[in-house]
């Protein structure tokens, strides 16, 4: 059906990053957006906003990524970010069990407060600090008992997190922002999991009832004729 010459439909997806401090939220985004990694990255102070396009066979998804780092202690930024979000990345550090507890809190909060139908991915980061990470990307040939191997800092087993993710119908990945392992896969999986209906006319519960028109036709582009004609008219 699809004409291969026709431009693919493009939709924006708002994605929020949640998780305890220092689990690597910003690093995951940096890897995804710039394919870069910074050792000893400074904590994010306020919040950051980045975009990245992801090309699927049938459409292009433009992720608008909200990184809510830093101020979770006031719990005041998050509602602003997950409002209208279609996807959330809840990150924990698989060398730190308390970060999974925090991740569970975020998942519960999202299920209670965010848009219904939000796609949530649970991501265990810092796989590079485990034997799985060193021994060829998680093929699991580590025989050592958890915690005993000095080279393995893993404290959260794959099984525990995975079964939790299955119970709550979350996407689940273990990643390393440092090596890049699985990072793009997370975003591609999210892109694929966003229901087509919520992309028809962009996002949220008020999806389009006018199926014949694509989302962008409704959107008014403020960078249209006006800016060219009257540049610098602001104040």
């Amino acid at each position: 059906m699809a004409d291969s010459n026709a431009p693919k439909p493009s939709s924006s997806v708002k994605l929020v990053l949640l998780g305890e401090a220092a689990v690597g939220k910003s690093s995951l985004v940096l890897r995804f957006v710039n394919n870069d990694f910074q050792e000893n990255k400074e904590p994010t102070i306020g919040a950051a906003f980045l975009t990245q396009k992801c090309n699927l066979p049938s459409r292009t998804i433009k992720f608008e990524i909200w990184d809510t780092a830093g101020q979770e202690r006031f719990a005041s930024l998050a509602p602003m970010y997950y409002r209208n979000a279609q996807a959330a990345l809840v990150v924990y550090d698989l060398t730190k069990p308390t970060s999974l507890v925090k991740a569970r809190h975020w998942v519960a909060e999202l299920q209670r407060q965010a848009s219904p139908g939000i796609v949530i991915a649970l991501v265990g980061n810092k796989l590079d600090l485990t034997n799985d990470g060193e021994s060829g990307r998680g093929d699991g040939d580590s025989e050592g008992v958890e915690g005993e191997d000095p080279g393995d800092a893993r404290k959260v087993s794959t099984e525990e997190a995975k079964s939790y993710a299955e119970e709550e119908s979350l996407l689940f990945f273990e990643t390393s922002a440092k090596t890049g392992y699985n990072v793009t896969d997370v975003f591609t999986a999210i892109a694929n999991a966003i229901p087509e209906t919520s992309l028809k006319s962009t996002r949220g519960p008020g999806a389009s009832n006018v199926a014949s028109r694509a989302g962008d036709e409704q959107r008014v582009n403020l960078n249209g004729p006006r800016e060219a004609a009257k540049e610098g008219c602001a104040c």
Partner: protein
């Protein structure tokens, strides 16, 4: 929370209404140390967008005379609390945690829910986002150019405002009670509802308005500048009643007594806004709850710039302020110090007008109201219906001298689920009878006039007034307290409110306030449109 008190903040901003949030945006690259608070547990203050659950709680808090004032920054003795109908269990909403002054901007709020609402299609509460500020924004508005120059516009989805209709109870010409106001020359010529002779007079008037302020046209109207526009239209342009209703409707004025000067200014704005960002439409509306969305974008920009955000945090000025800064009490344990305090006025001025608003969720998309305006135009998400004075004939006692406006929002606004719509009706509060009844009647009349059936599922009624229209600036030692006026009552966004934002910005920035740098930013890294694509 200790770290909050450990330092002196450059600015504490109380409230996340549009003005404060635009200030947060304006300061987002300034490196100033900013603490931004809101007593509510939602963003937007007077301009919030509420889920049904939040709307229920909000209405409860604003029933009767008003809600508890969230920033007790007037050091004089507080008012009596006898009008205060909120109680501790209403903690959810407007945070009556510190008693004292009350916000009296909103009052007499109540909600109504269809007895079988769920069976009729009412979805879960968070599927709705009812805007307290459903203003349309003309494409010429300075607000839009500031959002563009600050790059914040990238985070807002703007939808087109479509047709303007005028209701008539006695229309025999077109067979429909809702007549669409032609918005362009082509429109006028093709309009079947207007007789040819009327078309010529209408064209003559439209041509005049386009350059009404020129030396050639000024003499025509200046002599009658303060007279009613409706008389001027008849005397000078021989417009018939119907065309006069069209023109008056375009002014979006609520008192039905618009002057020539004001009327010509607003119609000129309307006409010259058409086509700026695309064919056919004169105004836009931000998806997800109107002005509230812009307030949130301002706060996000503040957060990205490093400001600290705390919701659900009422604040009051500590009496024990001293020296170069002000002490603000956030709770029994925590006080913070700041050199400037920005907040908004919460007390209605004794001379304030009052408007009555009815927000209704309807279980029909009201499709016939959302036709495309012109070829290549975006599908409109907002439609305006004007009920001229006296057109609601069922009860001539009620509201016969004031118009009613209905802004109908399709589900494209994200304010309701697909297949439903939200109708925002506004009129002047009428002292001796019930504006709420008139608005109900207008709503029912509207639903009967649209060839589509719809049941009303949920209604929120409230009255809104304004504080004094001036910003209040006071000094406490070397510290400054700045209070924004409350939002204007206009149906279209009023650019004048932007002046106060700049004024506040200058107070915070002091010598660093360079006029031509206000709201002008480059995109932040990673935020341009030409980013790489992952395959």
């Amino acid at each position: 929370m200790e770290s909050l008190s450990a330092e002196t903040w450059d600015t504490a901003i109380c409230g996340t209404g549009l003005s404060q949030s635009l200030l947060a945006l304006a300061l987002s690259r300034s490196k100033k140390r900013i603490l931004h608070l809101d007593a509510n547990d939602f963003y937007g203050e007077h301009e919030a967008a509420l889920s049904l659950q939040e709307a229920d709680a909000w209405a409860q808090a604003h029933a009767g005379g008003g809600a508890t004032h969230h920033l007790d920054n007037q050091l004089a003795e507080g008012e009596n609390a006898d009008e205060d109908v909120t109680s501790d269990k209403d903690k959810l909403s407007v945070a009556p945690k510190l008693s004292g002054k009350k916000s009296t901007i909103f009052r007499n709020a109540h909600v109504w829910k269809h007895p079988n609402a769920e069976a009729q299609g009412l979805s879960f509460p968070r599927a709705y986002s009812l805007a307290l500020a459903p203003q349309i924004i003309h494409t010429k508005s300075k607000l839009l150019s500031q959002l563009v120059s600050s790059k914040a516009y990238r985070q807002v989805e703007f939808l087109a405002v479509g047709s303007f209709f005028v209701y008539s109870s006695t229309d025999a010409v077109s067979g429909t009670r809702l007549a669409r106001i032609p918005s362009s020359r082509e429109d006028v010529f093709s309009a079947q509802s207007i007789p040819a002779r009327s078309k010529r007079t209408l064209m003559k008037f439209l041509k005049f308005v386009i350059d009404y302020d020129s030396d050639e046209q000024k003499p025509i109207w200046q002599g009658s500048a303060d007279k009613p526009l409706s008389e001027f239209l008849v005397d000078h342009f021989k417009l018939d009643d119907r065309l006069r209703d069209f023109i008056i409707a375009l002014t979006l004025t609520l008192d039905g007594k618009v002057t020539v000067r004001h009327g010509l200014t607003t119609i000129h704005r309307h006409l010259t806004s058409i086509g700026l960002f695309g064919p056919g439409f004169c105004a836009v509306y931000p998806k997800w709850g109107g002005i509230s969305e812009i307030a949130q974008v301002g706060c996000r920009a503040g957060a990205v710039g490093g400001s600290t955000y705390m919701l659900d945090t009422p604040a009051s000025i500590d009496e024990a302020g001293n020296g170069g800064d002000i002490s603000i009490k956030l709770s029994d344990e925590v006080s913070i110090r700041t050199t400037t305090l920005i907040s908004s006025q919460q007390i209605r001025s004794t001379t304030s007008q009052s408007i009555s608003r009815l927000v209704a969720v309807v279980n029909s998309p009201l499709q016939p109201l959302f036709g495309v305006l012109a070829e290549g135009a975006p599908l409109p998400a907002v439609t305006v219906v004007a009920f001229p004075p006296g057109s609601l004939l069922n009860n001539t006692q009620l509201g016969s001298n004031t118009p009613v406006y209905a802004f109908v929002h399709s589900s494209e606004t994200g304010e309701c689920p697909s297949g439903q719509s939200v109708v925002y009706l506004t009129m002047q509060t009428i002292p001796l009878s019930s504006a709420s009844e008139v608005l109900d009647m207008a709503l029912t009349t509207l639903l009967q006039a649209v060839p589509a059936t719809g049941e009303i599922l949920y209604k929120l009624y409230y009255e809104q007034a304004t504080s004094s229209r001036q910003s209040l600036v006071t000094s406490q030692g070397d510290a400054t307290v700045f209070e924004f006026p409350s939002p204007s009552l206009g149906l279209a966004f009023d650019d004048e409110s932007l002046d106060a934002v700049k004024e506040a910005w200058k107070i915070v920035m002091k010598d660093e306030a360079l006029d031509n740098s206000f709201m002008k930013f480059e995109d932040r890294e990673g935020m341009d449109d030409d980013d790489d694509v992952y395959d």
